[in-house]
Amino acid sequence: DVKVTQSSRYLVKRTGEKVFLECVQDMDHENMFWYRQDPGLGLRLIYFSYDVKMKEKGDIPEGYSVSREKKERFSLILESASTNQTSMYLCASIGGRNNSPLHFGNGTRLTVT
């Protein structure tokens, strides 16, 4: 069965800290995504990657960066966490066909204090 694993379910960080969110998929998918989920706003795309070391900005990339050194792993980095980055973060991957659905991890709920 398809699996996307996010390393942390809950994180509490302080303002100004550097934060790493890790995501691993076991489906050999080329494409991986980081979304942010906030009540009433649905899912908003932060960054996606279509290959190792390749990345593209999504709709809300400000304050975030990403790293994809290996095909199976996609990391989201908050260079200097701020309270407005308190949110649920969802990682997803997708197969190569245009009609493929997204496969999601269980999410990381990040609180920045």
Partner: protein, 115 residues
């Protein structure tokens, strides 16, 4: 550009009653349509999808959805809900020519099933 509107932010319903969660979309290109479900403290999982062909699609857990091209809608239905259906439901559209990179999600509908 595409947009997705889920017309109800919350839908309370009694157990064993029917339910419809409404989704309208706009797009100038052909799209694929998806419904995802998110149970508490979990990620999203695929409920059903419309790619082409029959406009009535069936998904997991007894859900179905009907694609209506003229009304640009993709409403989700279940004839009899269970307590375990309490979750948040997301409608999503993907442009057929770009695939998942450009998937747009609705804001979500929280279904609350009461005993």
């Amino acid at each position: 550009a595409q947009s997705v509107t889920q017309l109800d932010s919350q839908v309370p319903v009694f157990e064993e009653a029917p339910v419809e969660l409404r989704c309208n979309y706009s797009s100038s290109v052909s799209v694929y349509l998806f419904w995802y479900v998110q149970y508490p403290n979990q990620g999203l999982q695929l409920l059903l999808k419309y790619l082409s062909g029959s406009t009535l699609v069936k998904g997991i857990n007894g859900f179905e959805a009907e694609f209506n091209k003229s009304q640009t809608s993709f409403h989700l239905r279940k004839p009899s809900v269970h307590i375990s259906d309490t979750a948040e439901y997301f409608c999503a559209v993907t442009p057929a020519h770009t695939g998942g990179f450009k998937t747009i999600f609705g804001a979500g509908t929280r279904l609350f099933v009461k005993a």
